[in-house]
Each structure stands twice: as C-alpha cells, then as structure tokens.
Amino acid sequence: MMSCYLLDTLERLHSHLARVYQIVQPLEDVGQSAPPLVSPKGYFFAEQENLFVFDGECFRETLPQPPPFVLFGVQSCDLTAIAYQDQFFARDPYYQARRQQALLVGIDCVTPCEHGFCASVDAGPGVKAGCADLILHARPEGGWMLMVCSDKGGEAIRGMELDQMDDTELRARDRRIDDCIAAFPDDSHLHRGIAAISQGRVPDQQWQQLGIQCLGCSGCTTLCPTCSCYGTRDLSEDQGDIRRQRFWDSCLYESFQREASQHNPSEEAGERVRRFWTHKFGDNFAKTFGRYGCVGCGRCEQTCPGVIGVHSVMRRIADYAPDDDV
C-alpha cells in the first residue's frame, strides 16, 4: 500500500529534492494537461551518443556519468513508456548508467489532452504505482497529494515532515481519474483498429495506400516515447581516433533495412508503415513486453505531416476489425 502525504506547495518538494538531485522539469507547467512536445526518452536513451573511442590500440569506454537527477512531473503515458524502455534496454549500459541516477516524479492527469488516449491503452491518465518513485496529484481544494511508491522515493523525501493522508483521499483521487477517463472522446476507432492490426486483418493494399502518405520525416519515431531504434557510425577524429556513435534511427526511412547487397525487405513504404503499427499494436510485441507498444500520448498524430498519425490510421483501418469486436 502506498503511503500518501499532503504537500502544500511543489516548491517545497522541489527544494528538498534539489539538495541531492539536479532537477529536470520536462513540462512548462506541472499540471498542464498536454504532455510535452518531446517525450522524456532522450534523458536515458540519448539522441546521439558515443559508445567508445578506439585510439588504434585500445578501446576507451565512454559511459555517461550523469549526476543524480529527478524528472519532475512526468505524465502517465510517458512513465509507462519509460517502464517499457526499461525492459528494452535492460542490459544496455549506456541507458542504465543514466536510468540508475534518475528519480521519477509522476503527475496524474485529470483532464484529457488533445490527441491523447492513454486510457484506451492502459497507460493512464493516473500514474501507476510501478512506473514512478513519487506521484503528485493536484487536489481541487488546494495543495497536492504526494504518493510514495518505491524505496527510492521514500528515501528521497525523508526528513520532509509531511502529514500522512488517509484512504478517503486516495479514493477521491481514483474518482477524479475515473471522471477523466470518462471525459475522453469516443475511442471505438482505436479498439477496432487495434483488433484489425493485432489479428492481421488489414490488407497490404490498404497499407500501401497509407504508405503513399508517409514522407519518411522521422517525426513519429523521434517523438514516440517507445520507439528505440538506433543506428551506429564510426567517426574519425582529428588525432586519428575512431569514435563509434549511435543515433536515433527511424524504421520509416527507406534505407532502414536496406542491406549492403541493396536488397531491402521493406522497400515499399506501405510495408514500413505496416511494420511501425504492428510494433505498436501487434500481439507478438504485447507478449514480449506485457503490453502494447503504444502508450497513447498522441504525439504522432500531432507531428505527422503525412496525416497518418495514430488516430488518422486507426480511422482508416477500423472497418477491417471483426464485427464482434466493437
């Protein structure tokens, strides 16, 4: 059972945590309804980073050594995505070097955001206990509920002298989250679309039609909090060193899977679009990761110049869903 405290102002928590942690606040305003334009994945999985340097004889490690930091005020969709990435990068030393240093402070959403649908994919709007160290919840009557959901979280607020709150408060929080869920717009196209994809019912021709619209901009994969593909390259440095760098890649690029022989199993844009959405909503992925790859943040809808973000795609393929799945 989580312990729950009353916090009068965010500043108090801020300044307490700042004694140990560098504070990073991805949101302009903690408590705003929309998630930030950019997901927080880059704090752990850097957009460009060095893997090692080879000086002709030895390899030099270039593991990052960040100071302890706190991501202050992360919404449930993004926290669910971090939990997903934690699995994906479980044995990646670069990711883990940053992740180990981080304290996650979640913030519950109580109003739906424009393109979001976390509730439809079990990723919000209330922060799940397993996804954060601390959770904040704005009380309509003023002040904040502060829930502690890990030892690390408990450790972080030690010495703050906060009043404990009782179950009625936690029940009130649940009610407000339920109200928020009820306020999301109709999501039947999502459920039908997911059914169509996970059961492989969308014909190739439909994917090809959608593929025409993909400009290969990489916007969706850059902003998507669960996308984790990367490429590597070796750069020669001035002193003759070779630096291996990895950088975010995008499976929507034509060349993503092109082989040295020029053979390319996904030369067709439709095939790449299909692959992207199968990774987000395919049953195989759900089995591996315990959930779908999409956390409902809606960023791809907002940023796709080709008008094939999540809602647009799901509306176009919803009709392929089996009838009993409405």
């Binding site: 025409i212 400009l215 690029y253 092109r258 020029q262 907002q302 110049p305 080709g306």
Partner: protein, 699 residues
C-alpha cells in the same frame, strides 16, 4: 551545464518551418518543431529534423584559406582580406567595374543579401549581382511582374485549408516543400479536390482526383486548350475580367486554334482537358501551386504567363483560397530577390533603369551608382570565358554542382583572376577558389528569412560561429573596408534590417520586434497594411489592371531522336537539398540516397535490358555519367529522371544550357539522352573517377 533553447527558422526550403534549437554548452544537441508556428504547426520534414547534423563542426571550414600551387594554406583574416582587396583593385583599375561581380545566396539572410548587393552597387560600382533564382524561379519574377505586377506567391499557406480545389502544376511539393505538401494532403483528405499536372506520377498524383500526365514541355499547349475550353463554354468570370483585366480579345484570338494537335502534343485527351477546365473555372475558390516543371524550360516565362492567364480569366486571383502560387525552392530565395540581388533591380524591385529609383538609392547611400545593367550569373560565366569578367565573390552556392552544364561552369570559374568563396564546408566550387572564407551557418547568426508566402521571419543565433567563421554581411563589410569604404559598417543585423526597410516600400513597416510579435510578417507591410498582407491583389494590381498576354507553345530545345532516344527530366528527393552540402552530413539522410539515381519506366528498362538497381551509363550531347537504374512506374515510357543533388552522378553533366530568352533560365527539365546497361556487377564510376580516367569532358 548550460542548456538553452533558441527559436529560429529551418534553413532548408521556402516553407520556412519553425525550429527550436536545443544547445548544451554551445553544442547543438537536438532540434524540435515549434508547436505554435503559423505554417508548420509542430511538424518538420526529414531535412528539418536532421538540421542538427548540418551544422555539425566536422568538415567545417574554420579559417580563411589561400590557394598556393601546393593546395590551400591557412591564412589570417587580415592576409585574406588584403589579398582580396588587392586583386579586386587591380581588376577594377585595369578593366573597370563590369569585370567584377557577386553571386549571393538564396540560403543566406535578407541582411546578408542586402549587404551583398550594396557592396556590388555602392562600393564596386557594378550591377553584376545575382543569386541562384536564375535556376529556380526567375521566370516567375519576369512573368508575374508583367501580368500582375508582382512575382511572389499571391496567397498564403493557410489558404490551403480554405479552398475548394488545389491544382498542382509541375511541382512536387511533398518532396520539395514537404510541410506544404503535407497540408495539401490533409486538405485533400478532408474533401478538397486535387488536380495534379505533371509528367511524373508524383506522390500527390497518386492521391489526386485527377492526374494529367502531360508530355514534358507541353504546358502552354495544355493551358491554352484549357482557356479555349473555358471561353468556348462561357465559363470565364466576365465580371472580374471586365473590372480587373485587359487583353481578353487578343488572348481569345490566340487560343482559338489551341485544340489543333493538342492531344498529340500534350498526351492528354480533350475530354480530360474539358473536365479540368470545368473543375477549375467552376470552383468557387481554386488555388494553383506551381514549381520548376513550369519554370525550368526555354519557355519558362511564357509558361508562367500562360498560368496567370488561366487564373485571371476564371477570376481566381485576389481572394482567400485562390491565387497563383510559385513554390520557391530555397529557404530565402524570395528574400534574395526582394533584397535586389538581381542585376536589374534594387531592393523592393525598384528598377535600376528607373532614374528616380537610382537617385533614391544614390541619395541614401551618398554615392553615385552605376547605370549600366548588370550580368546574370550565367552572363558572368560567359564573360569569364572570353576574359572580360575577371573577379567573382560567391557565397552559399555550389554552382559547379547545381548549375546546368557543369563542364562549362568549371571552365569559366577557372578563367577568373580572383574567385572568393565563403562556405561552411569544402564544396566543389570552394575547391576552385583563390581565397576561401569560413562562413557562419544559420544557427550561428541572426537575421531574417522570407518564406515562399512572403513571411519575413526571425532567425536567431543559437551558437557562436566556430573557429574564425563570420556571418556573411560581416565579411562583406570587411571587404568593403579593405576597399576603403564604410558603406557596410553596421553595428548589428537589426541595423542592416532598419536601413533596408527604410528603402524597401513593401518592408517599410517591419522591424525585429514587430516581426517577433506576429510570428513573422507577410509583405507588403507598410503604413497602409502595418500587420502585413495575407492575400495579394485583393482590390487592385500593382500595375492597375492585370494583363492577359497571349503566349504560344514553344517546343523543347532538344527532343529525343535516334541517337538520344530518351528524354531526361530532373527531380528532387525530399531528404536532400541543393548540392547536399548540409543534408549529406546526416548519416540518416546520407543513407537515404537511393541505390540508383536514374529513374526509368519498366518498359524502357526491358527494351534496353536494364534490371532494377543495375549499373547504367547515361550520355547526352554534353556529357556522360554512370549510376544505377531505379525501375519505376512513376515515369512514363520515353522519360527518365534524375535528382540533381549528388556529386557522384550530377545530372547537370547532361542537362541542356538552352535558355529562356527573357530570363536566361536554362532548360533543366528536358534534354535528350541515351541510356545503356553496363556489365552486370560493375560499380558505376563517380564523376571524379571519370574525370581522372578520361581527362574530363569526353568519355
């Protein structure tokens, strides 16, 4: 660790999307779109997303370089400027101001371009100033200036969502202006009718309600037939023509026989022509977008006039959701033109030939100005070949890669006594320079860009210039000082802008704070329209009444024949830009270069025995290159296409230098070639290899 976010404008194309640059300790770490930008609304194309790689310090020129017999050596700014100053002075003394000139850059800021033309006119005393619009949209300026009085996009990007019909004529906006192309897709999906006229099956053509796959170079034949259909059926907007246009009678007479042979010339049947004529004339609001499929022909100016005729007879200019809208390529080609980086006009298109305009600038700059009209960039190359043009300052352009007929261009540049090139990285053109100057990138300077919808936007410095690099107007000012002039001694970019705005009527009510307040201002922005103008020509045209001017079809200069049986056209790929000197620094975009660059129809490929991705040689009357073939249904039989960004296989080895008589625009969109398969498994030789092996020009 100091993290900062700087809002600025994408440096890659005329859409002018809003970018946030995120820096950490003076290093650019990532780029994100601006959510509240009026055009891009939180979106970017692949070039915008990758712009962090473009300013990466690897490969950047960090110090001035001077050519020696053994290659370049590093020099101080003092030494470089002394060398430039002495050489310029010598040429000026010996051959006068017509022997020197400047080619400025449609990638540079308005401030840089204003400084470049002022250096040419007020200090070097020559009108030899030009920029690359010559190879993109000079026919637009020349054509629309005659018919409407202004050569810019008449409407705004936002109008895409306020129209009933979009006609995309010889343009590939999802590749070249991706975010606008995306807007067109979005509007179309929401019910706006879409007609695409293009020899190639472009992305939009695949989605459109109608695709007219006309034969290259038959634009006027088609447009005249459309106008004839409209007039024959009385679908024109007579009230509008009566009130706002002149010249209907001669136009009607000129199109009277437009059906003769039109199906054969264009490859489009009359029924389709009729359908398009009806759709366009009957739409309550219809918007035309066009691109280089209109301008890059010997008939470029007339093509533009023909389109303007079509829009005018249907009354489709002057209201929201209508208009004739050139899609200009580079991020600031509109601004470079506005700033007077053209041999015949001062800033704001005030004619050099007009005595009053000359007096105005002469008075403002307190110096006598040259009367003699200047040379275009191609004119400078020609004059260099015969020795009458001897010193050139050039920046932000790589004409050796992007100009038609590379071999001529190389020869011309090699004849110069002095070639000064300011660049970010060693381009092919910079390699030919006598002095190379290290330039600052868009992220390292401040100023303004003017996007294709005439929106003047603020570019803000996010990083210090690396090494000894300087912004363009700053080194231009240093050259002026070297020649004993303080004409370019401004305190900062804002001071340049203030001087320019005071002399440029369409910019006169603009200032940096006013631009910031409005997220950019669209010109004309003057006392009458202090917040800018979204739609041009609402009540009247700058020339009073618009002119309908009869134009007749001109055949392309070089048709396919027995020896060169295929027609080659050029295209662009959305993930590359210009000569690729910035975009190719991204490992992702570099990888996106297709395995082959010659796009060919399956039937032609079969006839020639060419397999998908197999090596081929391509020859025209002017040159030869090797690449691999991409077999694609997007090309009709008889037509092949190549993108022009790639130095390995530059299509400009092949293209024709025949020019539009008005603007000297070369015919880049059509020339005759022969394609032959190379032995299977052979790796195509790059241009450098071919040159080394064969001593260049001949195979």
């Amino acid at each position: 660790m100091v993290s900062q976010t700087t809002t600025t404008i994408c440096p890659f194309c005329g859409v002018g999307c809003g970018l946030n640059l995120h820096t950490e300790d003076d290093r650019l770490i990532s780029v994100t779109p601006q959510l509240d930008h009026p055009v891009s609304r939180g979106q970017l194309c692949s070039k915008g997303w990758s712009s962090a790689y473009g300013v990466d310090l690897r490969g950047r020129i960090l110090h001035p370089l001077i050519r020696t017999p053994r290659g370049f050596r590093q020099a101080s700014w003092d030494e470089a400027l002394t060398t430039i100053g002495e050489a310029l002075q010598q040429v000026l003394n010996e051959d006068g101001p017509m022997a020197v000139g400047i080619i400025s850059s449609a990638r540079a800021t308005n401030e840089d371009n204003y400084a470049a033309q002022k250096l040419a006119r007020a200090v070097l005393k020559t009108n030899n100033i030009d920029h690359c619009a010559r190879i993109c949209h000079s026919p637009t300026v020349a054509g629309l200036k005659q018919t409407l009085g202004s050569g810019a996009m008449t409407n705004s990007a936002a109008d895409i969502f306020e129209t009933d019909l979009i006609v995309v004529f010889g343009a590939d906006p999802t590749e070249n202006h991706a975010i606008l192309g995306g807007h067109i897709m979005r509007a179309h999906l929401a019910g706006t009718k879409l007609i695409v006229v293009d020899p190639r099956r472009t992305r939009l053509a695949k989605l459109a309600d109608m695709h007219l796959q006309l034969k290259p170079g038959s634009n006027i034949a088609l447009i005249n037939a459309l106008i004839k259909t409209i007039l024959d059926n009385h679908w024109q907007d007579s009230e509008y023509i009566e009130a706002r246009c002149e010249g209907l009678v001669p136009l009607a007479a000129a199109v009277a026989n437009a059906y003769d042979g039109v199906e054969r010339t264009t490859g489009i049947d009359l029924e389709t022509i009729r359908e398009m004529a009806r759709a366009y004339s009957k739409a309550s609001r219809a918007m035309i977008f066009y691109g280089m499929g209109i301008t890059q022909y010997v008939s470029g100016t007339n093509n533009v006039i023909a389109l303007s005729n079509l829009a005018l007879v249907c009354g489709q200019i002057g209201r929201p959701g209508t208009g004739i809208n050139p899609l200009r390529g580079q991020n600031n080609v509109q601004g470079a033109c506005d700033m007077g980086c053209l041999p015949n006009v001062y800033p704001g298109y005030q004619a050099v030939a007009d005595l009053a305009a000359r007096d105005k600038f002469s008075h403002a700059w307190k110096t006598a100005l040259p009367e003699q009209p200047g040379l275009t960039s191609l004119g400078m190359s020609k004059a260099a070949l015969d020795g009458s043009f001897r010193a050139l300052i050039l920046f932000g352009e790589d004409p050796v890669i992007t100009d038609p007929d590379q071999n001529q261009e190389r020869l011309a540049l090699s004849k110069l006594d002095l070639l000064v090139v300011a660049e970010l990285t060693m381009t092919d053109t910079a390699r030919m320079a006598d002095v190379v100057l290290p330039a600052a990138s868009f992220a390292e300077k401040s100023g303004t860009f003017t996007n294709c919808e005439r929106r003047v936007q603020h570019v803000r410095q996010a990083l210090p210039p690396p090494g000894e690099a300087r912004g363009d107007w700053q080194w231009l000012a240093a050259i002026a000082r070297q020649l004993g002039s303080d004409q370019l001694d401004w305190s900062d970019s804002e001071a340049v802008f203030r001087e320019m705005a005071a002399l440029t009527p369409s910019y006169s009510a603009m200032s940096y704070p006013h631009i910031d307040e409005h997220c950019g201002l669209q010109w004309p922005c003057s006392a009458e329209t202090p917040d800018g103008t979204a739609v041009l020509h609402s009540n009247s045209f700058p020339i009073g009444r618009a002119r309908l001017i009869p134009v007749h079809p001109t055949e392309i200069d070089e048709s396919a024949d027995a020896e060169y049986p295929l027609l080659l056209t050029t295209n662009r790929l959305h993930f590359h830009y210009g000569c690729g000197s910035m975009t190719r620094k991204s490992p992702l975009l570099e990888r996106e270069i297709p395995p082959g660059l010659l796009f060919i129809n399956p039937a032609d490929a079969r006839d020639l025995g060419i397999l998908h991705r197999a090596p081929v040689g391509v020859r025209s009357r002017r040159g030869y290159l090797e690449t691999c073939a991409m077999v694609s249904e997007d090309l009709p039989p008889g037509l092949v296409s190549m993108p022009y960004h790639f130095r390995e296989a530059p299509s400009n080895q092949l293209t024709n230098n025949a020019q539009d008589p008005v603007t000297k625009m070369p015919e880049l969109k059509a020339c005759a070639v022969a394609v032959e398969p190379l032995p299977p498994g052979r790796v195509p030789r790059s241009m450098d290899q071919l040159n080394a092996e064969q001593g260049g020009i001949e195979r």
